[in-house]
C-alpha cells in the first residue's frame, strides 16, 4: 500500500479520525486534488445514505416489550423467558395501569361503561382496580378492556394526557382478535401518545389526532384503543362500545 492509498483509506473513515490522522489527512488534501474529490464524493455518499435511517420502529413494539416485562413474575428474575408479545386477544395479556384509572375518573360520563382487568395485576394496579370498583366500575378478573366509544376514547386520551403529550397517533391494525369482539378478527386502531419533546413520527397510513382534529378521524366501527404513556411506557387497552 503506497502513501496515497493510505490517505484514500483515511478519507473513507474521515468521520472518526482524531489527532495526528486528522492533521495528516488535511495536509494531504490540500495538496491532492484526487483525494479532495474522493472526500467530496464520500460526503455526498453519506448525505445520500443517511435518510435510510429514517425508519419507523414496528408498530406496537414498545407495548409488546413492556407487556412482556410486566407479565414476568419477579420470582423468575434472571430466568430465561420468551416473547410474550402484545397479546391483545390473550386473557391476562394486559393489565390496567394507574394512568387509566385517572383517565377513567376524568372521563366520567363520556361513555365508559365497564372495566375488566387482570387479576394478576401488580399491587399498585390492584389498588387502582379496587378504587375503581368503589367508584362503581365493574372490575372482572379476566383481561383488560374498557368499553368506550370513539369520542370517549379521544376525550379520555386528550383529557388525561393534557399537557403531557403533544399528539396522539392512531395506527391501523388489521385482524385483531379479542374476546371483546367474540374472538372475531377486527380492524382496530393502536393509539400512541407522544410526550412533549419526543420526535413526531407517524408510521405510514397513520392518522394524527389532536385537539383540533375532527371526530371523524376515528373509525365508525370496531376499535381496540391502546393508551400509551410513552414516557413511562405504561399502556392500557380499551375497545369501543359501538364496535359493529
Amino acid at each position: 500500500m503506497n502513501r496515497h492509498d493510505r490517505y484514500r483509506r483515511l478519507v473513507a473513515r474521515q468521520a472518526e479520525l482524531k489527532g495526528q490522522d486528522v492533521r495528516s489527512l488535511e495536509a494531504h488534501l490540500l495538496a491532492c486534488s484526487e483525494c479532495r474529490e474522493l472526500a467530496a464524493g464520500y460526503d455526498a455518499q453519506d448525505a445520500a445514505l443517511r435518510p435510510l435511517g429514517q425508519v419507523y420502529p414496528p408498530t406496537g413494539l414498545r407495548a409488546a416489550v413492556l407487556a412482556s416485562v410486566d407479565q414476568r413474575p419477579r420470582a423468575r428474575r434472571g430466568a430465561s423467558w420468551g416473547k410474550a408479545g402484545f397479546s391483545m386477544g390473550r386473557p391476562g395479556g394486559v393489565w390496567l395501569t394507574s394512568a387509566l384509572a385517572v383517565a377513567l375518573l376524568l372521563a366520567g360520563g363520556v361513555g365508559v361503561t365497564t372495566l375488566i382487568s387482570n387479576s394478576s395485576s401488580p399491587p399498585h394496579v390492584a389498588r387502582t382496580q379496587l378504587a375503581l370498583a368503589r367508584k362503581g366500575y365493574t372490575v372482572i378478573p379476566t383481561h383488560a378492556h374498557v368499553l368506550v366509544g370513539p369520542q370517549a376514547a379521544r376525550q379520555v386520551a386528550l383529557a388525561f394526557f393534557s399537557g403531557r403529550v403533544s399528539a396522539v397517533t392512531l395506527a391501523r391494525v388489521e385482524n385483531i382478535r379479542t374476546p371483546a369482539f367474540g374472538n372475531q378478527g377486527r380492524l382496530c386502531w393502536l393509539v400512541s401518545i407522544v410526550p412533549p419533546g419526543s420526535p413526531l413520527v407517524a408510521p405510514p397510513g397513520n392518522t394524527w389526532l389532536d385537539a383540533a382534529a375532527p371526530s371523524s378521524a376515528l373509525s365508525p366501527t370496531g376499535y381496540i384503543v391502546v393508551f400509551v404513556d410513552a414516557k413511562r411506557g405504561n399502556f392500557v387497552l380499551a375497545s369501543s362500545a359501538d364496535s359493529a
Partner: protein, 178 residues
C-alpha cells in the same frame, strides 16, 4: 445516539436489582434505540415482521441484563439484534441474503423520493457485508473499532471492509443516478 456507549444502568442511579428501575431503564433504552435498531435490522432482514421479532427479543434480553445489574450499551444491543437477525436468516435458509431478497427491501416510509429509491437500489446491489458496514458507519455513526466488536472481526479488517464498501457503493450508486 447510536455509536456512543450509553450506560443505561447509570441513568438514574437506582439500584439495578429494582424491577421498576430496570423497567425505566428499558424504556430509556427504547427511547434511544428503537428507531435506529429498526433501521439497522431492516437493512439486514428486509422484512418488517422479522424486524419486529428481532427488536423485541433484543430489548427483552436487554431487560434481563438490566435486571442482573449489567450495563447495556448500543454495541451490545446491536450485537444481540444482529445475532437474532442471523438466526432469522438461517431459519429462512438464507444465511447470506440472495439477490431476490435484496430486491425486496421495502421502503416503508411514507415518502420515498427518487433519490432514496436510487440509494436503496444501490444498497441492494451490494453484498450484505458491505451494506451492513456502510449502514453502521454512515447512518448509525459507529466507529470502525465498535463495528469490529459487533461483527467479531479485527478493527483493521473493519476499516478495509468499510473502504471497499464505500468504493463499491460509489460505483453502483453512480450508475443509479447517472
Amino acid at each position: 445516539m447510536p455509536g456512543h456507549d450509553v450506560n443505561v444502568a447509570e441513568i438514574d442511579g437506582v439500584h439495578p436489582s429494582d424491577k421498576a428501575s430496570s423497567r425505566d431503564r428499558l424504556v430509556e433504552l427504547m427511547n434511544r434505540y428503537e428507531h435506529p435498531l429498526a433501521g439497522y435490522l431492516l437493512v439486514l432482514l428486509a422484512d418488517r415482521d422479522a424486524v419486529r421479532d428481532c427488536s423485541q427479543e433484543a430489548f427483552l434480553r436487554a431487560y434481563e441484563n438490566l435486571e442482573r445489574g449489567k450495563v447495556v450499551n448500543s454495541q451490545w444491543l446491536y450485537k444481540v439484534a444482529r445475532n437474532q437477525a442471523i438466526d432469522q436468516l438461517r431459519h429462512r435458509g438464507r444465511v447470506r441474503v440472495d439477490d431476490g431478497v435484496l430486491r425486496t427491501i421495502e421502503a416503508p416510509e411514507p415518502v420515498a423520493s427518487d433519490r432514496i429509491t436510487a440509494v436503496r437500489r444501490a444498497m441492494a446491489m451490494l453484498s450484505p457485508d458491505d451494506r451492513e458496514i456502510l449502514y453502521l458507519f454512515v447512518v448509525d455513526r459507529f466507529e470502525t473499532a465498535e463495528i469490529a466488536t459487533m461483527l467479531g472481526i479485527r478493527a483493521g479488517a473493519a476499516r478495509v471492509r468499510l473502504h471497499r464498501a464505500r468504493e463499491r457503493f460509489r460505483a453502483v450508486y453512480g450508475k443509479e443516478v447517472a
